[in-house]
Point group: C4
Chain length 363, copies 4
């Protein structure tokens, strides 16, 4: 069931189309509220009918083709299904000209933007990070509120006589506090007494330190999660290379840490037959073609595969060319770094040599 | 003594109740200062009597039931006790209608918000981080002050003639400096000379770099402390698994780094009897039930325990189902990752096999 | 030479005094520029004479007693010496009533704040971090300027007709750009055209990402430097314990990572004679007294020393009490964690046991 | 081809000159738009002719001397070449007094600032980090837009009646949203209803957390990249020292982590002949001279070389002085730390001793 829908969402054209429709829907309802609408009302309404019609179409296709019919209710109860359902309602509001639901059309039009969320892996990681950092974020929100309450109460007493408009009550004072602590600083309310200014200055400084904390915590959590994912990916890539089969896990970890990301554009030559080889490559993303001159044999390598590993041991000439079939991301391991790494262990080098020889049927 | 109070605070209902009361107290005194009060004064006062009465009750209960009577003074001298005591005072100010202490009622009402602090573990970590980063934070505060003084003095000389209202003295100039350096930027004072604007622009840039530093330092310290706690927790969990008893500490560290957090909702099936197993789980939070079909035996597993470890070695069918009794947080270790990790050490695999066999009475 | 001055600066009273004098000097010249001065001019001048007199005294003492006389020129050419020298000048400006140097008195008064810098170790680390991250910071400053120039030029063309006051030239436009990109946002210049607002909104978003980068880079560099210092400190502490003499460096690293910072206040009991021991302690800061009941022998332990290591191996009763003589910071290593760590290596345990037995003259 | 141009760009004087010219061009066109221009138009135009003439010269020199003629098209199609080409156009606009291209002259004048980019290595790292973090940054931009749309729509409904000027349409409302969420806060539009203020306050808090995220992600990615580069550099430096040839890679990693950056100014003495040695040094940047008293032999050491390694083993006197020929950056390894590190492995110490003896022809 999930796979069926997945094949949908992996299609680039579908992604671009839905993203464009969602952006268009959002933009149309935003523009509908401007003066611009009075002049071009007719055109805007037509465009809205088309865009919201396409949203209805997407909903219907997803409903009936996205999964076997017996799982239809699961789709409708999922976040995706719910978004698809409600964003197809504006079409009917428009079609039957339901004036009383006009505000709903606006809100659901903006909500169409939520359809884009399903195409991003990074958002899933964001969600995980927010869930796992929820205690820290709640604690810093608590501290922010505590700070806001404290500052507001004090400033209320300090400023209420000299500045009755901005600090007429603790609630009014809170508006100033949040605007100051979050460093927005509209300037519609500003303390006027000397003590109020002193406390306001202190609050600005502490506020910046406290209100920027959640962003820092999230960014750190995010970086750690990405580092963990990258570590596991690199580790798995390196551990699959037969050459390294005899290495212990510590050495594999060290090798994994020495990989460098390289990017190649479409049709770029990564390895040229006849050159002296000095690095091997792991394919992170994309596809390459291994071409041998004067030979019809062309081998295709994909994500997760590797090539050029013989160069790590011997400074021989490359026996084939490797060309990027589309934009590729590679992890590069140079012989220079590997040689340093394993120099102190002659027994490992000889074992690796043995594996390499076996591969090429040498004695 | 501590345990008695702890049992109190671990009760979810008590936590929610106290949090609600504290928020209500804060909200009531904040609303009391608005115009809204003149119309509904009577109702607000009644609500305040009830809310502050409950705060008195909580204080009395904590005082007499929270610990053996002979430790009562310790409670009163603790931060918690002091907060409980002072936040029960507004009740008596209200009861005896002490007009002259009205401002105290407002302040202590806001202070009720402090009662929530005791329920958060994360705040303790925050406190530790602030204490251990105190030198760096003091140093950056010093640099901020230095920057503020320098900018204020220079801007005073540059702007005092053209802009006598905002820069009439170095003290006045400091108000502008802090508001600018902390990027609040009310706009009540703005440099008007060309040189003043140039220096103000430079100050904005340097200010953002300097005034955001403490938040960055705190966020980093916090992330490191959380990572340390997580590392020790994972390490302890992994090292308790009999299967891994023969592994050296380096390998256990590597395994601990490969754990992934998974979350399950109440009644969700984590493992289904008959499925092919490919992962084991450590319970971080929550409780699970191990159920074997056609058998009455139900085993309960709690925080710190683990299950499914046989799947790491053999691709056998699961011999029981495991269901989350409430919202659970698990650490998952997949056989795929473990197999890669220990592939290069056949002697370890055979040792683990031996332990596994012994567990199932196989030859 | 350096040592002589060091002994000065390590004296707490001297530090507090100089800090107070520097703050007072800064405060006095700041207040001298306010209206407050016209009423209390006489008192402020007297206070200034005293405070600046003390600054002269400090300079003279440092000059003649801070080092052997033949190194005097080195002191005068150092940053510290230069600050001491120039901050003693206002005294003479005051004394001889040199009206034409009044502005200099103000500036040098504020500069007195620089005297505090010498007491902070953290500032040295800051300086190191800024130097080693200088390339990244210069590169992000370059990007900021590039962004500022680009935005200013575009906004100049977009807004110059509709908003001639704020965007009359590219230079004027830059003032708006920096104020916006650094998220200060005074509001004295605001784009009014639709395109200007769209570009301004984009600039705000990109600006926040770009202008907050240096703070993030500095905070990260600072955190790494602190982590490196902490790692070396912990490593050195652990490697000095005789019990661990037989461990290889990998295990010592692992142990060092498991240390937890604990703080004890003056006169607090860290270990109580007769309790079951379960942790050892390294003294990071402060001093402790080892007291054995019914014995006059009192041992003093200082920074860098350790105690309680026997508890890591045997669950025996503590043979002495240890009391904090002043505020202490300890690193705690619990037997629980250590036991897990070394469980898999029986040969290590037996070696440690042997060392422990030797220490207590057991067979 | 690349090498030829490289030799150009490595020349300090050329770098400074081009940087100065680029800054001058940017400054001149910025000043040309101010009132200042009306008075000094003649001088400004002359200066522009000179500065833009130099830009033409730089383009011509790069075009004909920067590479063999047959690669000229590659240069013209590169980013550098394109920048050089377009920034030489203003000269001809000036020369032939093409009034209709005046705006182009302004834009290309500002673009001259792009010429400086080629001199910075850090910018390349920035570009790499932005590319590898692109998914996270896109995801957070999506979340920002989602937040902006949601807040704008809600505030439009809440404020449109009470505040028709600032919230007349969803588009107008978005201007306020971005200005608030990015914490710029001009104050030209401010919510006036109680509900609008409450939602605005919440938006400020969430906005700061969300809009500061990209800066945090970039700063973290940047820090990790720098740490990886530093790790590989240190590792390579340490592994090249013959003394450490017998150490396994784990120990070399540990040593690499204990290196401290030290800086020396020109002509400073790093090691003084006759002193007791306690540290060795690796040259990160700069050049040193090894001088032996009463001997004419002077050895020059450069980036990547090392000296003083004997001091790590024996507390002998330094046999030569080492003086920094220009500003140097060194990595220092003290004998104190190394001794602790290898103390637990007597066999390593004896192996190192053997290498050291061989070096000095001792038995």
């Amino acid at each position: 069931m999930e796979k069926q829908r997945q094949s949908f969402h992996d299609n680039s054209l579908y992604r671009i189309l839905i993203t464009a429709i969602a952006v268009a829907a959002t933009f149309l309802v935003a523009i509908e509220t401007t003066r611009f609408n009075s002049n071009y009302h007719h055109y805007i309404e037509r465009l809205e009918l088309i865009v919201f019609g396409l949203l209805v179409l997407d909903f219907v296709v997803n409903l009936f083709l996205g999964q076997p019919l017996k799982y239809m209710h699961k789709y409708l109860l999922s976040f995706e299904g719910a978004v698809d359902l409600v964003t197809s309602l504006p079409f009917f509001i428009l079609l039957f000209d339901l004036e009383q639901f006009h505000f709903l059309k606006l809100i659901l039009g903006i909500a169409a933007f939520l359809k884009i969320a399903r195409f991003s892996d990074a958002l899933t990681i964001f969600k995980d990070v927010i869930i796992s950092e929820r205690k820290s974020i709640l604690a810093s929100l608590y501290l922010m509120m505590l700070l806001t309450f404290a500052i507001s109460t004090v400033l209320y007493f300090v400023e209420k006589d000299a500045n009755p408009k901005g600090f007429s009550s603790i609630l009014e004072s809170m508006w100033w506090s949040v605007v100051t602590l979050a460093t927005v600083g509209y300037g519609d309310v500003v303390p006027v007494t000397a003590l109020g200014k002193l406390l306001g200055a202190l609050a600005s400084i502490v506020g910046l330190g406290m209100f920027a904390l959640p962003a820092g915590i999230l960014a750190n959590g995010f970086a750690q999660e990405l580092a963990r994912i990258k570590y596991i990916t690199s580790w798995n890539l390196v551990s699959k290379v037969p050459l390294f089969a005899t290495l212990d896990r510590g050495t594999i970890s060290e090798i994994a840490r020495m990989l460098t990301v390289k990017r190649f554009s479409k049709n770029e030559t990564i390895i040229k037959q006849g050159d002296i080889g000095d690095a091997m490559y792991f394919i992170l993303e994309g596809e390459v073609e291994v071409v041998i001159a004067d030979s019809d044999k062309i081998v295709q390598l994909k994500k997760g595969q590797f090539f050029g590993e013989i160069a790590l041991l011997r400074d021989t000439k490359r026996t084939a060319s490797v060309i990027a079939k589309r934009r590729c991301e590679m992890l590069e391991l140079t012989s220079y770094e590997l040689k340093h790494l394993i120099r102190s262990r002659p027994e490992i080098v000889s074992k690796i040599e043995k594996v390499a020889n076996a591969r090429f049927d040498l004695p």
